[in-house]
């Protein structure tokens, strides 16, 4: 067995094991353990990317997923502070069973398709395609595939528009989050009465209605 193959099995098995651990009853009952298993899965995936000589993607995977996103995940889970005994035991409902059967069916179909594609005469050769990034030529060989130079060139030529659009998307998400989370509520014309606390703080009930309005901008 070559080095790559060994590493592939280690990382692939690791990814699967972490993914399974995320859902298993023992570990999965603790949200923190589930989240950390997810970090493990993502870390193994980063290793697989590195094996495919996509070093940049691998490093970015770790930075973005394992680092930033997972920290946020863990924070959310921690602030929720779910105790294991508060989590409801898993109960099988008809819907869940149906979903499971459908999922298994799709999974079986996928396996069949993969087997067919791997062995049958009707197979589609996926290898050269998956190496090509979006319509660029792969006939010219794999020069610089996965390197930072090549990815950068792609991002700033062929995929300039999606790349720039993503920055707009992030801006929209940031603006949206600020609007929904940070803006102070205007009670001027709102039908809901202000909280009782404000009533006590202010002298007149009418004044209480605008109490929260001008302070925090």
């Amino acid at each position: 067995m070559s080095m790559e193959l060994i590493l592939f099995y280690v990382l692939g098995g690791g990814a699967l094991a972490f993914a399974a651990a995320m859902l298993l009853p023992n570990v999965g009952r603790n949200p923190i353990h589930s989240a950390l298993s997810l970090v493990g899965t993502l870390f193994c995936l980063a290793g697989l990317y590195a094996l495919l000589s996509a070093h940049l993607l691998s490093a970015l995977q770790i930075i973005v997923y394992a680092g930033a996103v997972m920290v946020l995940f863990t924070f959310v889970i921690m602030l929720l502070n779910l105790q294991p005994d508060e989590i409801q035991p898993v109960r099988l409902t008809t819907l869940k069973v149906a979903a499971g059967i459908i999922g298994l069916f799709v999974f079986g179909k996928l396996i069949t398709a993969i087997t067919l594609a791997a062995g049958g005469a009707q197979s589609v050769d996926l290898t050269p395609h998956s190496a090509a990034i979006g319509g660029a030529t792969w006939e010219g060989g794999f020069n610089g595939y996965g390197t930072i130079r090549e990815v950068g060139r792609m991002l700033y030529t062929t995929f300039l528009v999606p790349f720039e659009l993503v920055s707009v998307l992030l801006l929209v998400a940031a603006v949206g989050a600020v609007v929904l989370a940070k803006r102070s509520l205007h009670y001027i014309d709102a039908p809901t009465p202000p909280p009782a606390k404000l009533n006590r703080l202010a002298n007149k009930p009418e004044a209480a209605a605008t109490h929260d309005d001008h302070g925090h901008h």
Binding site: T137, T158, P162, L165, V175, I188, P191
Partner: protein, 551 residues
């Protein structure tokens, strides 16, 4: 580069309007009245519409290509048509917002910026020529709309609506990405045209393709609120601020359908889907009739006008989906006709009618109240005749009473679908007719509330505002104009549809793609906007029997 920037000007105007709003608003005192942003937004949207019209008119004379930025965006007639349509919808929404939003305590500058962002995202997803651009555009639009739905933070219904819409929408996006991953795996490309050519080669695994089609279609069906994925619609429509509900039922629906049609037609249509031609049209037709029936039947039982219109939008999604059948039909069968402009035309009609309806309902949002039941609407015709008239006009148009837009729209849809496979879908069209008869009941019921009920003892208060009246006026004029001159709108739509870059429509491009080692992405396609496409619209080019043979 300059060429690309000029070509994408309608989108860039919206983007810069959004950024301008955000930056300037940050420096305004917090107590300042933000209503002027509504007028500014309407002006910016109008500028975008004008830019689109200008490109449509002069693009050919300036010998411009239709695609920009390495074929990631196409700004041909189809995209321009829908960018103009969504631009008009955004304009009406901007105009109907200021008073309503400040009455509801959410008239922040960010609201108007997010409206611009939503319109920008719609433009990007309609103009997309690759899966990546499509997805990111769709997400920009959705993200902005999620926030806009939940922006009335003092209202529990609004926040709940936003939350529901966000969670279900995220699941739909995951479906879309999953389907796109299959398409990429099958074709090795993310460009519509490249995928279409790759899928036309023999030996494409049908199962993978079916999964890809199902998953991507499911995501779009969610966005346009078709039946298995319609659960979010009534709550989101009812909880959202009424101007935003108008935007969702007009622009979001139009953009969703426009992107779906282009994706189906350019990416999967024609030879690409040859192995699935037996199933996909039937699937769409079935979903269509189920959608329209469920939407109409549920609308019958509603008490609130806003919720009725939400279910009516599900029903209209069903009518439109039936029109989509023409886009996925097998072109190799005898008697095949290329789809005409029926779906775009219907979308225009529906957009104006629902904009008029929802902007008329906006007047009921006085004092942060949000009820659109019978008691609130009764007397609208006498106490606020203009709003009442606009609401009645919208209802008549939505019901498809013969001289109006809705009638012509359904007629065109039926003609398009009848051409598919020698009238195989005639039963479905009969169901459509029956459905529109059923729907007339609840539309006319609202009209009866407006005019033919005894006045209540106390007159409800309305939002009376100039910009809101402008919004109602523009929507009503839109209904009337397109109702009087349906042929013109139909022609524009047909020209748009004919300009979609399908492999069949782009035979001139073929030699470049067929050459071994050619880089289809790197070379600009010499294809002036106006002349060849105008010809194509007049006389649709005969479709090659096996366009992919030379690959």
């Amino acid at each position: 580069m300059l060429h690309d920037l000029v070509l994408t000007a309608p989108l860039l105007i919206l983007l810069f309007a959004a950024l301008f709003t955000l930056v300037v608003d940050a420096f305004l005192p917090s107590s300042a009245n933000r209503s002027f942003w509504g007028y500014f937004g309407a002006a910016a949207s109008a500028a975008s519409v004008l830019a689109a019209a200008g490109l449509w008119k002069f693009g050919g004379a300036l010998e411009m290509h239709t695609t920009a930025f390495s074929h990631q965006l196409s700004m041909g007639p189809y995209s321009l048509f829908f960018i103009a349509l969504t631009g008009i919808c955004a304009m009406v929404t901007h105009l109907s917002s200021p008073k309503y939003m400040s009455e509801h305590g959410s008239g922040w500058g960010e609201y108007y910026a997010l409206l611009h962002f939503a319109a920008f995202g719609m433009g990007a997803m309609v103009a997309a020529e690759s899966l990546l651009t499509l997805f990111v555009g769709l997400e920009i639009m959705s993200m902005a709309i999620y926030v806009l739905v939940a922006i009335k933070r003092t209202s529990q219904a609004s926040v709940e609506a936003g939350m529901k819409y966000f969670i279900m929408g995220s699941v739909a996006s995951a479906f879309l990405l999953y389907g796109m991953a299959f398409l990429y795996g099958l074709s090795g490309s993310t460009g519509y045209l490249e995928i279409s050519l790759a899928l036309a080669k023999p030996g494409v695994n049908t199962l993978w393709l079916a999964l890809a089609v199902l998953l991507t279609s499911a995501a779009f069906l969610f966005k346009v609120a078709a039946v298995p994925f319609h659960m979010w619609t009534p709550d989101a429509y009812e909880g959202a601020p009424t101007p935003i509900t108008g935007l969702m039922s007009s622009a979001v629906k139009a953009a969703g359908f426009a992107a779906l049609l282009k994706f189906l037609y350019a990416c999967l249509g024609g030879p690409a889907m040859s192995s699935l031609h037996a199933q996909v049209p039937a699937l769409f037709a079935t979903i269509a009739v189920v959608t329209m029936t469920v939407g109409n039947l549920l609308a019958l039982t509603q008490k609130s006008a806003k919720r009725t219109l939400a279910y009516s939008s599900i029903a209209h999604a069903g009518y439109l989906l039936l029109g989509c059948v023409a886009f996925v039909a097998d072109p190799n069968l005898p008697g095949y006709q290329q789809p005409t402009g029926a779906v775009p035309f219907y979308l225009v009609g529906y957009a104006f009618a629902s904009l008029a309806g929802f902007s008329a309902l906006t007047v009921l949002g006085k004092g942060g109240e949000e009820r659109t039941d019978e008691e609130q609407i009764i007397g609208l015709g006498r106490n606020y005749p203009f709003a009442g008239a606009v609401l009645a006009l919208a209802m008549i148009s939505l019901a498809g009473v013969p001289p109006t837009l809705g009638f012509f729209g359904k007629l065109q849809l039926a003609r398009d679908v009848l051409g598919v496979e020698g009238g195989k879908y005639l039963p479905y069209i009969i169901i459509l007719v029956l459905n529109s008869v059923v729907s007339a009941y609840y539309y006319l019921r609202i009209t009866v509330w407006v005019y033919m009920r005894p006045e209540p003892k106390q007159t409800p208060e309305y939002i009376r505002e100039t910009s809101l009246q402008w919004a109602m006026g523009i929507a009503a004029v839109g209904i009337l104009l397109v109702g009087i001159l349906p042929q013109r709108a139909l022609q524009l739509g047909a020209r748009g549809v004919a300009s979609i870059r399908t492999p069949a429509a782009l035979q001139s491009l073929r030699y470049e793609l067929a050459k071994p080692g050619a880089q289809p992405v790197a070379q600009p396609v010499a294809q002036p906007v106006a002349q060849p496409l105008a010809k194509a619209a007049e006389a649709p080019a005969p479709v090659e029997a096996k366009p992919a043979a030379e690959n």
